[in-house]
């Protein structure tokens, strides 16, 4: 495979239905995935706020962590945005947390992560928008595509909530519309 078919970082955004979708997507990733996987999942005011890391760690074949600010983005780790903070990537591939105003009524916001990651990884970025009941992620995905990144959207038919994938498709379009299994395959292929 040539370089054009490869990605060196993965960002994923989801909201309503996200926990279930993430468990199935992460569960299908290869254990030796080379790329870092950076996730924003909007969280309700319920318990899954605290337990999301554990719930995802049960499913994923690699470590799942909430990144410390200033720490390095690490390969073969799922980095989950902590509740109440925007998660951004700095040019030196370290994490930055901010408490700037909510974006799309959300903090963390998918757009914030995607836009900052797009600026750093450009055509080496793979971004996926999954299930959700709001429009967050659409503008971010557009930024990813504008920098030549690879954009995937979960098929609205499969998504538990189809608004987020539909908004992403309408605003940004995608390189492929896939099921969760298809998205996992694509990530496995592109991040050997």
């Amino acid at each position: 495979m040539n370089d054009r078919g490869r990605s060196s970082a993965v960002v994923i955004g989801c909201s309503t239905g996200g926990l279930k979708a993430l468990r199935s997507l992460l569960g299908a990733l290869r254990a030796d995935l080379a790329a870092p996987v950076i996730v924003v999942c909007h969280r309700g005011s319920t318990d899954d706020r605290e337990h999301l890391v554990e719930l995802l760690a049960q499913a994923a074949p690699m470590p799942v962590q909430e990144p410390d600010e200033r720490s390095r983005v690490r390969p073969n780790v799922v980095h989950l945005a902590p509740s109440g903070y925007h998660l951004l990537i700095e040019a030196d591939e370290t994490f930055m947390l901010s408490v700037d105003a909510r974006v799309n009524f959300s903090r963390p916001a998918i757009d914030v992560l995607f836009e900052s990651a797009a600026a750093v990884y450009r055509e080496r970025l793979l971004a996926a928008v999954l299930t959700g009941a709001n429009d967050d992620g659409a503008i971010g995905l557009k930024a990813v595509r504008a920098r030549g990144g690879h954009a995937l959207v979960q098929s609205p038919e499969e998504a538990e909530a189809d608004r987020m994938p539909r908004a992403a498709l309408q605003v940004a379009g995608a390189d492929a519309v896939l099921t969760l299994a298809g998205i996992a395959d694509r990530i496995n292929q592109r991040c050997p």
Binding site: E90, S98, D100, A119
Partner: protein, 297 residues
């Protein structure tokens, strides 16, 4: 020989160099020029702010001021002094909450205030006080611990508009429920209503809560030590700074605190990369409460 030594005239073609690979985006270049312009013309130095979030804020400001690009914003900011307060406000992120992260205030109540109680007079510096949310939080905490009359709170920020609002103690009523919940979760002795009253679309805090508060402009980038403090609260401010600036400010805090004084940072902050932080010992790691000096044996 002589002919060879003559400097060769640059040809037109020589100017058409290939652009370097991985050259920065125009937006990023313009962001650097914006930072430089603000520094040269107005003396505000944001060069040590983390770029990813700064860029978002500057882009938002460009849109809010009707500028098509950051470059266009820069030339307006450089030429038009009237815009400066708007720029400072936009850079400053005065986003806060009363009793944000309630367990932190529980910890302050349980682990820090009892030790502070042994001092006849207590100085507290709240750095980056935004619109005063945490100032009133602190005042209530100290009041309920029976310490407030022995305390002096210095509440500082570099955003004058936010400071002016902090002095009013008025917050949108839409925030009231969250604050009230936080207050109870932090172990409050009453209900928050005890300290404020609702009026139309806002809540207003009892002015008596400000009786020992001094509000002042202080810029952590440029200004120095101005008091001796027993407790410094600086939450969610250093997260915006690069490592060198974070280190500078932690040095400032070290020089301000009395031996054994306390520092409370935001719940997700990490000081692992700071040289000056070595002199702080974690008292409650989760709550990000540190103490200056070695632990007493």
């Amino acid at each position: 020989m002589a002919a060879n030594a003559r400097p060769r005239m640059p040809t037109l073609a020589a100017h058409h160099r290939e652009p370097p690979l991985n050259r920065p985006d125009p937006d990023d270049v313009e962001l650097e020029l914006f930072i430089r312009g603000l520094q040269l013309r107005h003396g505000y130095d944001f060069s040590q702010y983390a770029r990813a979030s700064l860029k978002r804020r500057v882009q938002a400001l460009a849109i809010a001021t009707g500028s098509r690009t950051i470059g266009e914003l820069t030339s307006r900011v450089v030429r038009d002094d009237v815009l400066l307060p708007t720029v400072v406000s936009a850079m400053s992120v005065p986003v806060s909450e009363m009793f944000r992260d309630p367990p932190v205030f529980r910890a302050l109540r349980a682990e820090v205030l009892p030790i502070l109680a042994s001092y006849p007079h207590i100085n507290i510096w709240q750095a980056g006080c935004a619109r005063g949310e945490e100032v009133y939080t602190l005042a209530i905490l100290l009041e309920e611990a029976g310490l407030y009359d022995r305390c002096q709170i210095f509440a500082t920020d570099f955003n004058d508009a936010a400071l002016a609002q902090a002095q009013e103690g008025i917050f949108p009523v839409t925030e009231a429920r969250q604050y009230a919940e936080n207050y109870l979760a932090a172990g409050g002795a009453h209900t928050l209503n005890h300290y404020c009253h609702a009026k139309y679309d806002h809540i207003k805090f009892d002015s008596a809560l400000r009786r020992n508060v001094t509000f002042a402009n202080h810029n952590l980038v440029a200004d120095g030590v101005f008091c001796e403090a027993h407790l410094i609260l600086c939450r969610n401010v250093l997260i915006y700074f690069t490592n060198p600036l974070q280190d500078r400010v932690l040095g400032l805090f070290r020089n301000t605190l009395v031996r054994g004084g306390f520092l409370c940072l935001g719940s997700k902050e990490s000081i692992d990369y700071s040289e000056n932080a070595r002199e702080f010992v974690a008292l409650n790691r989760r709550a990000r409460i540190y103490r200056l000096g070695a632990p007493s044996a």
